[in-house]
Symmetry: C2
Subunit: 302 residues, 2 copies
DNA sequence: AAATTAAATAGACTGTATCTATGACTGAAA
DNA sequence: TTTCAGTCATAGATACAGTCTATTTAATTT
């Protein structure tokens, strides 16, 4: 098991190019640092440095590990400093599912933003589970997220949508009415890492013995779409996602759907906040014809 | 200093709701786990659990810490598993600055994607420094990023752009020809956490004794824009960023600029890859009239 | 070949995670 | 009301592993 001190030592050597200097930097002796690096290398099963008398050099694997080690330390620092900041009371704290298109969010939020400017005092964006956790803990007043049957919270449905394929409009498959997944074998693919049906999608392809080639993985769906439009690869995502240069095509057997709406729990709400929330939802629903099903057509939406 | 074992214990208690059960799960005795949690709480300076005889409950701070602890462990797992996978040679590995608009990326990449489908075999997206590091380490062949004077790499300029204000088109300030920063005092603001001039922008406001109110912080610029359009708050960003419902307005004294282009180093390139790269750059430049200066006008771009 | 520098190894020491044993507290059942 | 069961906290001893000092090994320079 990798330990924090080992990562500290490793990064000190990376910075200084020398075990001796690194040891000074982290306030231990050189043999301590040497032993720590040795343990880290043993744990990872690979050599991280090529040693010479004058200086040490990162191996190829060592180089790959640097960013990873930095990421761990970065998260650790964030974790520690997050405990030093104090929360102050908020008026309306809104949680938004990160896999909802920005355009849809704008449509949904804009009516309220126009009439009640400034009352959304905190926004949290995350995965479905993160949002639910925060609501359970009273840290979000209202969430725009996926509706699931049997939820204990209050739910107001806004729209339903299917998941389908997204390919570049100039792609040979873009004109098909429907695509057989086997046509995507070895095609470059872009993975939306926060997709709610990511494992189902993976299984969908695996079950058909289709292995797309991973080119790019991102948590930012608009990025994924831009790469699709650029011809880098295909992806799958909910139908409301549209972009210039991207054609949406159904895929045979790919029948996943989701329902998007507001979720709130009244357990943690003051009367004032309950009022505000009700105003928010009513105003938003009254502007929803724009989001109705009939506006969504499958195919090239540009 | 927080240690990994403390995080392991903490997350086990979160999962089980009980020190005793958590201790079983992590294969230590309950007093060991109790002491570990106590050390963690001492280090963080806050209580993470409310203890009762039946079960333990997360405090508000404990709840905030859960996601942080998970992020650390997640990165640690990634770091370890990254050493177990073997790199395979890639054809063209492209690094892209994360603060370039998706639309610009699509315009830049699409000509190549049309004619050379499938040859972009790996995409990395990150901050400027991350991209430069990866290029130095030979892990990126070509980068689309900010050009800085005095760089050691080869650089090809694509366009220059200024930074300016983005407000909702229905905002009272949206019709101004230019905005004085003092008009933004106490206005809700959205922070783009990966902005290259984030500290300069912060200092810009501080120097004028202007304190906008932070509502939302995100690394996703398209999200920031959607929130601006929705009226949640204002932000600053490069001029190429546009969105429906967002008006771009210059701000007096806010004179930051950036130059975007391709960067590559020939030190790590095979002849074949050098060829491919040259084709990429030539093809892209030949389609660049779309990106020329004259197409950028300041004001409402919808 | 000798001197210098820096990483590796060996063995003793020190700090702390861990164990066993016990105490304190709470809630449920008799 | 008392007893019992369950759970977290505390105390003291033990075991383990990071750390130290001393030395060896390896590479480079003079």
């Amino acid at each position: 098991m990798t330990e924090i001190y080992q990562l500290r030592y490793f990064l000190a050597v990376v910075e200084t190019g020398s075990f001796t200097k690194a040891a000074e930097r982290v306030y231990v002796t050189q043999p301590t640092l040497s032993a720590g690096i040795k343990k880290l290398e043993a744990n990872l099963g690979t050599r991280l440095f090529d040693r010479s008398a004058k200086r040490v050099f990162l191996t190829e694997n060592g180089t790959r590990f640097v960013e990873r080690a930095k990421a761990v330390m970065h998260q650790l620092n964030l974790a520690e400093s997050a405990m030093k900041n104090e929360d102050t009371p908020k008026l309306l704290r809104l949680g938004i599912l990160m896999t909802i298109p920005s355009q849809s969010i704008r449509q949904i939020l804009q009516p309220f933003g126009r009439q009640e400017a400034g009352l959304i005092t905190e926004l949290f964006e995350g995965t479905e589970q993160e949002i639910l956790n925060r609501m359970d803990e009273g840290r979000i007043d209202l969430a725009l997220t996926i509706l699931r049957p049997g939820t204990k919270n209050n739910a107001i449905s806004l729209y339903r949508e299917a998941y389908s394929l997204a390919v570049a409009s100039h792609h040979p498959l873009a004109n098909a009415k429907s695509i057989d997944p086997t046509e995507l074998a070895n095609e470059p693919t872009i993975v939306r890492s926060r997709c709610e049906v990511l494992s189902e999608t993976s299984r969908f392809f695996t079950d058909r013995n289709v292995r797309p080639r991973l080119v790019y993985r991102t948590a930012q769906d608009e990025r994924a779409l831009a790469m699709v439009a650029a011809g880098v690869g295909f992806t799958t995502l909910p139908d409301h996602y549209r972009a210039e240069g991207v054609t949406r095509v159904p895929m045979k057997g790919y029948d996943f759907e989701r329902e998007i709406g507001f979720v709130f729990s009244e357990h943690h709400l003051s009367d004032e906040k309950s009022d505000l929330l009700k105003r928010f939802v009513d105003l938003t629903k009254s502007s929803l014809p724009d989001m109705a099903y009939e506006k969504i057509t499958i195919g090239n939406l540009t």
